[in-house]
């Protein structure tokens, strides 16, 4: 930036550490993924909608959900985009795809990544399956990625 422009700004930073409580629903979801390689959702007692990732309240009915449902580890791709540029924050080395996946048994969409280096092979409607991380770290990337089946 030119010296003139530099005078007009103040370069500041906001650096704050946080400790976020994710809650019991997220904890169970992540634990099942890490320990048992199972993806679980919750079902609304009123409208029967199955939510994944799970949460406490069905927003339509405003009811507490307590029934856990085991979903398949497979799903159908509803939409995707291919990431081809490289930045340090990416979960995989490009090219790979971010995808909206309808897991078998779920009524909400699940966003994750598909590891496929040939973008031509990707199509809406194709089937994918979760691949789990060897050593789980209690993060969403304990599902390392989805692969085409």
């Amino acid at each position: 930036m030119s010296e003139d422009k530099e005078k007009k700004i103040y370069r500041g930073r906001i650096k704050v550490p946080y400790k976020h409580t994710a809650g019991a629903y997220v904890e169970k979801f992540i634990t099942e993924i890490g320990k048992n390689h199972k993806i679980m959702g919750v079902k609304c007692p009123k409208c029967g909608k199955v939510f994944v990732p799970p949460k406490m309240i069905c927003f339509k009915c405003f009811e507490k959900m307590e029934e856990w449902v085991e979903l398949g580890n497979q799903g159908t791709v509803k939409g995707f985009t291919v990431v081809s540029h490289s930045t340090p924050v990416l979960p995989l080395k490009p090219p790979f795809a971010y995808a909206i996946i309808t897991l078998d048994g779920a009524d909400t969409e699940f966003i994750h990544i598909i590891k496929e280096s040939d973008p031509e092979k990707l199509k809406v409607g194709m089937r994918v399956e979760a691949v789990f991380k060897e050593v789980p770290r209690k993060r969403i990337l304990d599902i390392e990625y989805f692969k085409l089946i």
Binding site: Y18, G23, M56
Partner: protein, 390 residues
């Protein structure tokens, strides 16, 4: 002129704690919302509009409307608006809810304030609320300026540390009667407060409020709806707000001029000429013990320098003429986004006669106060009917 009268018909509060690690933010808010809906016997689908509020820099999720407006409140497909005005967040929520119904636009409104304060840190978060070029480098959160205010007030009127400590003793022992309060200390002594560490002269640790986590929800309705819901509502008699200059240092504000201005406005509106006689209880926002001494003067309860006398003569004690903070006040519970709304909730609880062990006898008129920002004040007066006193 307001087109409609506004009553509070439902109240919900969580038990305030230092850390609520058992729930995430929407789950915590839901507890207060469910309690308020059950209290008003209202179906979630019948809520017309929702106002939510917190200060995002404490939780680090800078668009809380997205997930706290819907998963925690019945906001799906409804109007949900967020209000964030620092320490006055709760009272701004309380007052904007009043505007929404008084204007006639909505028949009922759900108002929710919350904070999960210890996910970030109070002082750190507060510093980010201020000007990065002029204020952040030296600002010590809220306690630095509050300490300066106490220092000036103490020097001007010769007020002692012991006088201030008496406020903490009153409020935290009052809190022992409040099942929702964070710090409940039925056996607190003056020595306990006076022996605590000096954290920012003249403020000692126990002259200062805690950092709490929790949520508070209120449901308001207009006169027609209120008739269908309850025969024991608390009515808004009036509200007032006074904001001030940009920087907290644009004026020397140890005596909180905005409280003087806002209280004069509201007393005129509601027809109060002698607050000690005509108010039955006051829930004021006292972030430090010194603040209660000085700001009860600003609110017109005592002349300048006379805040301590109110305490010593028993006027603001539970058995006095104008009990201040029967709930324990901010010195006992401080979840910043909810705190000022809790003041309104506690004032309303007193008017409704639902205070249990903390109930002051024969409450007809109660004052609730919010404070925050660059030293703003917001006030509301509640009563058994919506009319001014004269």
């Amino acid at each position: 002129m307001p087109k409609h009268d506004v009553a509070v018909v439902g109240i919900g509060q969580t038990k305030f704690r230092s850390k609520r690690r058992d729930v995430n933010i929407p789950e915590m808010i839901y507890e207060a919302v469910k309690m308020a809906l059950d209290d008003a016997q209202m179906e979630p689908k019948d809520v017309d509009a929702i106002l939510i509020g917190n200060m995002d820099h404490f939780e680090g999720i800078n668009f809380s409307e997205m997930w706290c407006g819907i998963d925690a409140t019945p906001g799906y497909l409804k109007p949900v608006v967020k209000i964030a005005t620092g320490g006055t967040t709760g009272s701004s929520l309380g007052i904007c809810g009043y505007y929404n119904i008084a204007s006639g636009i909505y028949k009922n409104v759900l108002v929710v304030g919350w904070e999960k304060l210890n996910e970030g840190g109070a002082t750190t978060g507060i510093i980010t609320a201020f000007d990065p070029v002029w204020e952040r480098p030296s600002l010590a959160g809220a306690l630095g300026p509050l300490a300066l205010m106490a220092n000036i007030y103490a020097a001007k009127y010769g007020i002692t540390s012991e006088q201030a400590a008496k406020v903490t003793v009153k409020n935290r022992s009052n809190a022992a009667n409040n099942p929702f309060a964070h710090l409940q200390m039925p056996n607190i002594t003056l020595e306990y407060v006076m022996n605590s560490q000096m954290i920012s002269y003249p403020l000692r640790l126990h002259d200062c409020c805690p950092q709490s986590e929790g949520a508070c929800a209120l449901i308001y309705a207009n006169e027609e709806e209120t008739k269908k819901i309850t025969d024991n509502p608390a009515w808004f008699k009036g509200v007032s707000t006074a904001h001030y200059y940009t920087f907290g240092t644009d004026d020397i504000m140890y005596d909180l001029p905005t409280a003087t201005i806002a209280s004069k406005k509201i007393y005129k509106k509601v027809g109060i000429q002698d607050p000690i006689k005509e108010l039955d209880v006051a829930e004021i926002y006292e972030p430090t013990s010194w603040s209660e001494l000085s700001w009860t003067e600003a609110l017109g309860f005592a002349e300048q320098g006379g805040g301590g006398k109110l305490l010593d003569e028993g006027i603001t004690q539970m058995s006095g003429e104008l009990p201040v903070n029967p709930s324990g006040g901010v010195l006992s519970t401080n979840p910043i986004g909810a705190t000022a709304l809790v003041r309104f909730a506690e004032a309303v609880i007193q008017v409704m006669g639902r205070g249990g062990k903390r109930q002051v006898p024969d409450v007809e008129t109660a004052l609730g106060m919010g404070f925050g920002g660059s030293l703003w004040t917001e006030l509301a007066i509640f009563g058994k009917d919506p009319n001014p006193l004269r």
